[in-house]
């Protein structure tokens, strides 16, 4: 049971369904709030959308570098962005109660609705990613060179900016609700979404770089991933402290252990350790790459579990009337 300070309401006893050990008045312990209906497809979108956004940032960072290997990384990242931008809409559409009406999302632009802004962010991101891929295809002489006019230089930073938005808005979206756990995380969840999105993007691009035989920039990707992952771990620990009793559905019990094992330890601490080992210990290239791929796979799994925990713990939080009666301001 959640611990609550005694309220003036507690002077009143004897309401139906009230028992001595209950933390306050309620209506037969019935939930106040409705549970969000979002399932695996929304969780997968939160995860892949974050990676897509982070990949947009990597596209610009590596693209600005003077090292040829970094520019090759930027090219790979552009193709990956476009692929992710193609996977995400079907995920979002499949979660709708009326999927055939998905275009209704594009009727209006609504600044008050993070979901509306997010859909437009996704649309614009896809456009920028498409333009940048077109540019690379022209550079590779797969497509006619004049097609580069569709990718002015501003498109790269634009994709990075839109990427930061798509990685972060999902956190704003879930925390701008009445669900006590999510509302309590109004600062932590959006920042966590950005950090986890970029860490996941570094992991994905590490794997892609190694697979495409361009392992020189991997060391830099891993350093950026370490920064993002450390920020993520710090934010998680701070959110746990900040949420207090409201954080119980996320940080305690079976789900709390899962978050600890797969995200905090498996998805952040172990990859960090592997990265430090790679930087310090001398090892043959094949072993070094195998270590990078393993660390990246663990990071990606941890990122998925984080999003899954957000959504599933939010459902539990919605079911607790005493938490919902004290809605965080």
């Amino acid at each position: 049971m959640l611990a609550h300070p005694p309220s003036p309401d507690d002077a009143f006893t004897g309401a139906a369904g009230r028992r001595d050990n209950e933390p306050g008045p309620s209506y037969f312990e019935q939930p106040l709030l409705k549970r969000p209906h979002w399932g695996w497809n929304v969780i997968a979108y939160l995860f892949l959308g974050g990676i897509m956004g982070g990949t947009g940032l990597i596209t610009m960072l590596a693209g600005r570098s003077s090292i040829p290997a970094d520019r090759r990384l930027s090219r790979t990242a552009k193709f990956a962005s476009l692929a992710l931008a193609a996977i995400n809409p079907p995920l979002l559409i499949s979660h709708l109660g009326r999927p055939e009406r998905f275009l209704n999302m594009l009727r209006i632009v609504k600044f008050k609705s993070p979901m509306s802004l997010g859909v437009w962010g996704l649309v614009l991101y896809s456009g920028a990613a498409g333009g940048n891929v077109l540019y690379e295809l022209a550079e590779m002489r797969v497509a006619p060179r004049w097609l580069r006019i569709f990718a002015p230089p501003v498109l790269e930073p634009l994709q990075a900016l839109l990427g930061a938005f798509t990685a972060g808005y999902t956190g704003v979206l879930i925390s701008a609700t009445a669900i006590p756990l999510w509302a309590k995380g109004k600062r932590h969840i959006p920042a966590l979404s950005v950090c986890s999105g970029l860490a996941g993007a570094c992991a994905l691009n590490t794997i892609l770089a190694i697979v495409s035989g361009n392992d020189e920039p991997v060391e830099r990707l891993e350093r950026l991933e370490a920064v993002a992952a450390l920020a993520e771990l710090t934010l998680l620990a701070d959110f746990r402290r900040h949420a207090g009793a409201l954080g119980k559905p996320m940080f305690e019990g079976k789900r709390g252990r899962r978050l600890r094992d797969f995200t905090a330890i498996g998805g952040i601490a172990i990859p960090l350790l592997l990265n430090v080992m790679g930087a310090v210990l001398p090892m043959p290239k094949s072993l070094r790459n195998a270590r990078s791929v393993a660390a990246s796979a663990l990071t990606l799994l941890g990122g998925y579990v984080l999003r899954e925990t957000f959504i599933e713990a939010g459902k539990t939080s919605a079911g607790d009337p005493h938490a919902a009666f004290r809605q965080p301001e």
């Binding site: 006893t13 004897g14 139906a16 369904g17 008045p25 309620s26 209506y27 037969f28 019935q30 106040l32 709030l33 409705k34 549970r35 969000p36 209906h37 940032l57 990597i58 960072l61 003077s66 090292i67 979660h95 709708l96 109660g97 009326r98 009406r101 998905f102 209704n104 009727r107 209006i108 609504k110 609705s113 993070p114 979901m115 859909v119 990075a160 930061a164 990685a167 972060g168 808005y169 956190g171 704003v172 925390s175 701008a176 609700t177 009445a178 109004k186 969840i189 959006p190 979404s193 950026l224 920064v227 993002a228 920020a231 939010g314 919605a318 009337p321 919902a324 009666f325 965080p328 301001e329």
Partner: protein, 280 residues
């Protein structure tokens, strides 16, 4: 000027005529036959297809005195001044209509479900997608107009979208009183101009207090971010006893902090990234 409901719980006798009238007029399916053991409440909550819900608060004792007191409340969508569902809706399906009420346009809603966790009162919910068995579907093409077919026909057009009280938009347009208020035998549910209703409600509270009843209005002169409620209540117990939040919070008030935190995180990581990928 907005139209709304004044629900006076001191007059409610728990007959559930409002629930039935709402279901009939709006062609909503039944909630099935269940026994919850939670007083005489077998529907328990508002849902996508239950737009009036009578809560039964059955007191066994007050302090040391054992009394036999009932408190019934017919709950409904509050049609908030600042509505969380309406702000969250990405398609613009949820609008404020010409009567000042929050209305879901059923032909626009695409069932994204964002309004559901955005309601601080837990009112709106998604209606199950309509998936009849093959045998049932064939029956719909041939069956006569029986009651079940009517209500499942309504589900056919409303399955998969969000549902809640429309404040009988259609009846209001025809100049009729909403079905629940019309059916209420004790005028516990009163319909009308919200300002008139508020004046009436304040007088009622005064009179009840003179008689020693601890009456208070819920949803009038509110200082919360949700503001006043077009469907407000007269209560005799703390709001939580009726499953109402004492201080509802408008979810969109969390957005500025959220966007700022995300932007800060992104900027910090971008700076780190620029330093790492500087080239040499």
């Amino acid at each position: 000027m907005a139209n709304g409901f004044f629900t006076d719980t001191t007059l409610c006798i728990g007959c559930k005529a409002c629930e039935v009238a709402c279901k009939q007029w709006n062609e909503l399916p039944s909630d099935g036959l269940a026994f919850t053991g939670m007083s005489y409440d077998n529907t328990l909550r508002l849902s996508g297809t239950t737009w009036r819900h009578v809560a039964f608060v059955e007191d066994r004792e007050v302090g040391t005195t054992i009394v036999n007191r009932w408190s019934m409340m017919s709950d409904v969508c509050k049609h908030c001044t600042h509505a969380g569902c309406m702000e969250a809706c990405p398609t613009g399906a949820i609008i404020r209509n010409e009567f000042g009420d929050v209305y879901i346009q059923p032909d626009v809603c695409n069932g994204c479900g964002y309004c559901v966790p955005s309601c601080p009162f837990g009112v709106v919910d998604l209606i199950e997608p309509f998936k009849p068995s093959a045998a049932k579907a064939a029956e719909y093409n041939t069956a006569t107009l029986d009651r079940e077919r009517l209500s499942e026909g309504a589900l056919q057009s409303h399955g998969g979208i969000a549902g809640k009280c429309t404040l009988c938009y259609d009846r209001q347009r025809l100049g009729f009183t909403p079905a629940c208020a019309k059916a209420c035998p004790t005028e516990s549910i009163q319909f009308g101009n919200v300002d008139d209703l508020k004046a009436r409600a304040r007088k009622r509270v005064e009179r009840l207090r003179e008689r020693g009843v601890d009456a208070q209005l819920y949803g009038v002169d509110e200082t919360t971010s949700v503001g006043d409620l077009n469907a407000f209540f007269l209560l005799t117990q703390p709001p939580e006893h009726y499953n109402l939040p004492a201080r509802p919070v408008l979810p969109s008030t969390h957005q500025p902090a959220g966007y700022a935190a995300a932007a800060l995180a992104a900027a910090a990581l971008a700076v780190a990234g620029l330093a790492i990928f500087r080239g040499r």
